[in-house]
C-alpha cells in the first residue's frame, strides 16, 4: 500500500515537472517591452536639435490627438529603412504628430540625415546622452511609441517601422 502511494507521488511529481517544462518551452522568451502598452508615459523635457532655447514636454503632447515618438540616429541603418514610412505617415494623416528624438548622435550628422532624407517630424529633440530613452523604456534604435492625448501608450514598435506596422498605426488612429 505504502509503495503504491510512493509510486503515485513520484509519478505525479514527474508529470507536474514535465508540465512545467512544456509550459516554459511554449512561452515566448524573446524580451520586449510590450508590457508598457496601457501605461502612461513619464514626464520629460526635450530640447530641440536646431534651437537649444526651444523645448517640449509631455504637456505639449496632450494637444495632439495621437503622437508617434520615434527614436532615431544618423548612424542607425534601420532608421533609413523606416524613414519612408514616417514621411508617408506625416503626409497622409493629420490626426498624428510625429516627434523625433535623436539618440546619441552628433548634431551636424542628425541635421544632414534629415536634409538628405527629408524631415517627417513636427519636432526633433535631442537625447545626446541617451537618458531620455530610458524614460521611454527604449533599449535599441529605432523604436517608436504611439501615445494618445491622455499620454497613454497604445503601441510600441521595437525595430524599424515596416508596411505592417504602418498599417497598424493607421488603423489605431482611425
Amino acid at each position: 500500500m505504502k509503495t503504491n502511494i510512493t509510486k503515485i507521488i513520484i509519478f505525479s511529481f514527474v508529470i507536474f515537472s514535465l508540465f512545467v517544462f512544456w509550459q516554459a518551452l511554449r512561452k515566448n522568451n524573446n524580451y520586449d517591452t510590450k508590457s508598457l502598452i496601457g501605461n502612461r508615459i513619464s514626464n520629460f523635457q526635450l530640447i530641440e536639435i536646431y534651437n537649444d532655447d526651444k523645448y517640449i514636454s509631455e504637456y505639449d503632447l496632450k494637444k495632439n490627438k495621437f503622437t508617434l515618438i520615434n527614436f532615431f540616429a544618423s548612424w542607425c541603418a534601420p532608421c533609413r529603412i523606416e524613414h519612408k514610412y514616417l514621411l508617408k505617415l506625416s503626409r497622409e494623416s493629420e490626426k498624428i504628430k510625429i516627434i523625433g528624438i535623436n539618440f546619441k548622435d552628433k548634431k551636424t550628422n542628425a541635421i544632414n540625415f534629415l536634409e538628405e532624407l527629408s524631415n517627417p517630424y513636427n519636432f526633433v529633440g535631442k537625447d545626446s546622452k541617451g537618458k531620455i530613452s530610458i524614460l521611454f523604456g527604449i533599449y535599441g534604435i529605432p523604436e517608436s511609441i504611439l501615445v494618445d492625448n491622455n499620454l497613454t501608450i497604445i503601441k510600441k514598435i521595437v525595430g524599424p517601422i515596416d508596411q505592417i506596422q504602418y498599417d497598424e498605426i493607421l488603423k489605431l488612429i482611425q
Binding site: 513520484i10 524580451y31 537618458k131 530610458i134
Partner: protein, 125 residues
C-alpha cells in the same frame, strides 16, 4: 638607463593605491543587480554596451538625487519589466519560482527517508 630606473623606483615608492569610494561601491552593487537587456548573460556592471552605459548614467543621476536602491530598481522595472533585475520580487505570477526548489528539496528528503526506512525494515526482517 640609470635615470629611467631611478624615476621608475621613485614612482613605485611614491605611488599610492586608489580605492573606490563608498558611493562607487554602492553604485557597483546596483549595476551588478541589473541585467543588460541587449547582452548575452551579462550584468550592467560587466557590460560595455551602449545600453549599459546609459543605464549607468541614469542610475548615477538617481543616486545623486538621493533615491534609494529599491526606488531605482522600481523605476527601471516600471520601464523594462521584472527582467531587468536579477532578483524578481515575490508575486502571484512567480510564487512557484520561489517555492518549487524548497518543495523539491523537502519532497526529495521525504523520498530518501522512505527508502532508507524500507531498506532498514527489510534488513531487520
Amino acid at each position: 638607463m640609470k635615470i629611467k630606473f631611478f624615476l621608475f623606483t621613485v614612482y613605485i615608492l611614491t605611488a599610492t593605491p586608489t580605492y573606490p569610494s563608498e558611493t562607487e561601491f554602492k553604485l557597483l552593487e546596483v549595476y551588478k543587480n541589473l541585467r543588460c537587456l541587449v547582452c548575452q548573460g551579462q550584468s550592467i556592471a560587466d557590460s560595455n554596451s551602449d545600453f549599459a552605459a546609459t543605464i549607468k548614467l541614469v542610475v548615477q543621476d538617481q543616486f545623486n538625487e538621493g533615491k534609494t536602491e529599491d526606488e531605482i530598481y522600481k523605476f527601471l522595472t516600471s520601464k523594462y519589466g521584472e527582467w531587468i533585475v536579477y532578483q524578481p520580487s515575490f508575486n502571484k505570477n512567480n510564487f512557484l519560482l520561489w517555492f518549487l526548489p524548497y518543495s523539491a528539496l523537502i519532497f526529495g528528503g521525504f523520498i530518501i527517508f522512505l527508502i532508507v526506512r524500507k531498506t532498514k525494515n527489510n534488513n531487520v526482517n
